[in-house]
């Protein structure tokens, strides 16, 4: 059987993927550049296709709390927004993490801070990977760099969310959300039929009632909850790191970039190779858990690393933490909705080569 290839816009492809992934409910609020997600779902006759509920809420705050309610019933619940809207959702996201509820949040990032511009950016990296809301918690963060990955990660995101009872964020941007690419869709997945034991579905006679909460008034209890969460995050870090390497085997210098920036960095890498510079590219796919070990390993091989980000330098901090001083790590970025070109990215690399080579090149041991 030949697989169906379709040409789809990133946002619409994610919406279709949500239906195909057997998502039970979507709650959202319009914001550019991701409104196509709710528009697509509203016109896709989801009630008839799979029974998926789609509701336009009165606010981002209401929509994330609707997600909380549906997720607390053990259902697959989805919301999407863009940067300012994600800030509004952060209260609810913290509660979801605290109550250990699975759900998926899509952030089609636009430039900030404030209302800023609707143009693409990666300036919500910190907010996504460091928690974002109050308290010690982590989101699992997936960063697609193609429309195909946007589709595939929707299903993966729900698998991870339910495996770890944790919110998962798909961190994408206005480039991938708005552009059209060919995609291969996966087969329709059934909606969940069984209720997880932690879900509120009505108290069974003779059994204790089920409570979904993040409230633990006794500090001793709250510490235990935090320890459990941290243990879960260590498991996630052990099991779920995902990344992709391009020509890293013989690389002397390394680009590190995620999402749409990785596509630009890859072009810059090709240009560098044509000029005889042995460049490689590491593309983190999970931003949390971050590919710490792989970055550390490559630090022993290359004379320097350059992160390429559409922000003022955010992921660069995680790369530096992983490298821990073993090799120079620098940042090249455009921001405010400006997209770096391959030529200026290559120039940014070239401008650092001399200094990097002056330093004792790290030897692989």
């Amino acid at each position: 059987m030949t697989k169906e290839i379709r040409l789809m816009k990133g946002n619409e492809a994610m919406a279709e993927a949500a239906i195909l992934a057997g998502v039970d409910a979507y709650f959202g609020y319009p914001i550019t550049p991701q409104s196509e997600i709710i528009e697509y779902l509203m016109s896709a006759n989801t009630a008839e296709r799979t029974g998926m509920q789609v509701l336009q809420a009165e606010s981002e705050i209401a929509s994330i709390n609707m997600v909380y309610g549906a997720a607390g019933c053990g259902k697959r619940a989805l919301t999407s927004s863009s940067s300012p809207g994600i800030s509004l959702k952060m209260e609810g996201i913290s509660y979801l993490a605290g109550a250990e509820l699975p759900c998926v949040i899509v952030n089609v990032v636009r430039a900030g801070p404030g209302l800023a511009t609707i143009q693409p950016s990666q300036s919500d990296y910190f907010q996504a990977v460091k928690g974002g809301g109050h308290g010690d918690y982590k989101l699992i963060v997936l960063a697609p760099s193609t429309v195909q990955e946007s589709v595939d990660f929707m299903r993966l995101a729900f698998d991870l969310a339910f495996r770890y009872r944790n919110p998962v964020m798909i961190l994408t941007d206005g480039i991938i959300g708005q552009m059209m690419e060919k995609v291969e869709l996966f087969e329709q997945q059934p909606r969940l039929s069984e209720a997880p034991e932690w879900a509120t579905r009505g108290k069974k006679p003779g059994e204790k009632s089920t409570v979904v909460t993040s409230l633990h008034l006794e500090s001793e209890d709250m510490e235990q909850v935090n320890l459990r969460l941290q243990a879960k995050y260590r498991e996630v870090e052990k099991n779920e790191v995902r990344f992709e390497s391009y020509r890293c085997e013989d690389a002397e210098v390394l680009f590190v970039a995620f999402g749409s920036s990785a596509r630009i960095a890859r072009k810059a890498m090709d240009l560098a190779r044509m000029k005889g510079i042995r460049a490689g590219l590491l593309r983190p796919i999970t931003l949390y858990p971050f590919p710490v070990d792989e970055v550390r390993r490559l630090a022993g091989q290359v004379s320097g690393m350059l992160t390429v980000e559409m922000n003022a330098g955010q992921m660069v901090e995680d790369v530096r933490l992983a490298v821990n001083g073993r090799t120079p790590v620098e940042h090249f970025g455009r921001f405010g909705g400006m997209i770096p070109g391959p030529d200026e990215t290559l120039k940014a690399l070239e401008s650092r080569l001399e200094e990097w080579h002056k330093k004792q090149p790290a030897q692989a041991e």
Binding site: L55, A57, A70
Partner: protein, 265 residues
């Protein structure tokens, strides 16, 4: 009659519903929350829907309502209970869903969620406890604090010129086509408590028929926040709260707004 025979099971005329747990209530002595909980629990019990009911607890004094109400429950962020309830009801439309919220939760920080859930006519029951004050945080001004009433954040009394007027959110949501049954009750006497229970039971019955949002306000006391003993607080409530928040139905199925929705009479 010997004492033993009086307390034998066949002489039992009234007992605690199983929809209330055995846990000791944390509420202050004389507070209306315990009775309001019990009336809701009895309404659920009378309808035999304990295993089909999912509740949403607020932030406020009743944040731990799930300690006492023996049904599956979710704890919402401050003010967000109607949105959480919407999420529950949309994925489990066959269940009975209620929120239990205080005045700060429902009529200040959660005004938007309250109005829009009511406007969509979500098939949920909202139980709204109005005691005119923030109890849990120590007696600050609430959106429902009466003009001139003292609280820790209006120690000279609420000055409506700078602090705004008390919000009659129950009358407000009664105006919306999405609400089906809106009523204001109290639980400070046995008769009033029974009426409140009947109102909650009716609201849950309407939910089964998918009639829209039902809101039962319970005007209640706060002896600690009002700095009165329980008896005085009930008297003060009758003399001061009831004239401003009159008891009775505000929107009745089939008849619409009572008295033009102006008040509960």
């Amino acid at each position: 009659m010997a004492e033993q025979s009086i307390i034998s099971p066949e002489n039992l005329v009234y007992k605690k519903t199983e929809v209330m747990t055995d846990r000791e209530l944390h509420y202050c002595p004389g507070c209306g929350h315990g009775t309001a909980h019990r009336m809701l629990a009895e309404a659920i019990d009378e309808l035999g829907i304990q295993s089909e009911t999912i509740g949403v607890a607020p932030v406020g004094c009743s944040v731990l309502a799930y300690y006492y109400l023996n049904v599956d429950m979710q704890e919402a962020a401050h003010g967000r209970a109607p949105a959480v309830a919407t999420g529950i009801k949309r994925v489990l439309p066959e269940k009975y869903v209620f929120t239990y919220q205080g005045d700060g939760d429902l009529a200040a920080i959660g005004t938007s969620e309250t109005i829009h859930a009511c406007n969509r006519g979500e098939n949920i029951l909202i139980v709204f406890i109005n005691n005119g004050i923030y109890g849990m945080t120590g007696g600050q001004m609430a959106p429902t604090t009466l003009p001139g009433m003292k609280s820790s954040t209006c120690p000279m009394g609420r000055d409506v010129k700078t602090m705004g007027n008390p919000l009659k959110i129950t009358e407000l949501v009664a105006q919306l086509p999405g609400t089906y049954y809106v009523t204001r009750q109290s639980v400070h006497t046995p008769g009033n408590a029974r009426k409140a229970r009947r109102a909650m039971k009716k609201a849950l019955e309407y939910q089964k028929e998918n009639k829209g949002t039902c809101l039962v306000e319970v005007v209640s006391n706060c002896p600690s926040g009002w700095k009165m003993n329980p008896v005085d607080s009930n008297k003060w409530m009758e003399e001061n709260m009831f004239p401003f928040y009159p008891l009775g139905d505000i929107k009745v199925p089939g008849k619409g707004l009572v008295n033009g929705g102006k008040d509960g009479r």
